[in-house]
Symmetry: C2
Subunit: 197 residues, 2 copies
């Protein structure tokens, strides 16, 4: 295997990078050895020497801080676990200020179209955490599309029989918007979920 083929093969293993993208990236890197190639090598080495995945929620965390800052914060509510698709969803929920419990990133969702099944998700770790950490509620903060629904159904099936309340985020109109700017499905969900004013 030549150095170029080896680089192609390593790039192709990254999420979302197909053969064609890997080729474009490899050519670009080889053509700019002292620019973006050097920068990437150094950034990867720095990351490799200092970062890892949090054993609980799955976010990236410094090597010497695993579990991560959020997972090891004693001030947080340990009754509720919020399940998200990707680690970067956690920052979005934190920014809302509406949740002060624990998190668990699945690292994806069930998508038969993309060949991603339950085995690709962090479901075993989820089951272990439920056994050990004694959560009373699991909030499924998943996408509001077919793949999110499939993933939610799968997890609800998995949690059946456990004394845990399972909830999903509410569907409805986005804040600062109105029915004029809303698609029919969102509007239907908002009507079905209408609440006492």
């Amino acid at each position: 295997m030549t150095a170029f083929e080896r680089l192609l093969s390593a790039l192709s293993r990254l999420p979302g990078i197909g053969r064609r993208s890997a080729e474009r990236i490899a050519v670009r890197l080889a053509r700019d050895r002292d620019g973006i190639m050097k920068e990437l090598v150094e950034a990867l080495e720095a990351a490799r020497n200092s970062l890892c995945g949090c054993g609980l929620c799955g976010s990236v965390t410094p090597l010497d801080r695993n579990p991560c800052r959020l997972c090891s914060d004693p001030g947080r509510d340990s009754d509720a676990l919020c399940v998200v698709e990707e680690p970067d969803d956690i920052a979005l929920i934190e920014r809302s200020g509406a949740f002060r419990g624990r998190y668990h990133a699945l690292m994806g969702r069930i998508s038969p179209m993309k060949g991603e099944g339950p085995a690709d998700l962090r479901l075993r770790t989820l089951a272990q955490r439920l056994d050990r950490e004694g959560f009373k509620e699991v909030i499924l903060a998943l996408s509001t599309d077919v793949e999110g629904d499939t993933t939610a159904s799968f997890i609800m099936e998995l949690l059946k029989g456990r004394p845990i309340r399972v909830t999903r985020l509410a569907f409805g109109l986005p804040a600062g918007s109105g029915i004029k700017y809303s698609d029919p499905l969102t509007l239907a969900k908002a009507i079905q979920g209408r609440q006492q004013a």
Copy 2:
């Protein structure tokens, strides 16, 4: 800047990688430090120590072989220069066996939609090569879509006044196919370009 932010920034500079893809890749790498992260670092280092871009055609070539094998092959026809979008197009044309001249990869094409203009292409190198290498024909082997057409028009304008024949690949029916499987535009081009049987 943390090690994670630095990695995100380096990944975001790769072609075709947006902020969201960079995050997915960075998280995946950080979570598998001794797997795909290690493999990628080693592949990049090997590539950096042995590969570069050919100063003429733009393909990837070993550091100690610049110009590349094709560009320095004295057995090839030095009258004709085939201009392609990406270096990997060269391998496709070589496989056809129908061209034995020189190549020049533009590294993209003009695409206002993607914010890619003439300045992003290897056009200055193209002009220098035409000055120095004395080609008699430039074959534009570009895509048969709007962006390919725009790029071709731009290059034709650039070559105006030079005593060089500029050609484009023929449009028509693909081999092993028939009018039944052809889209109307391809069919129209095939009729317009019909030849004596």
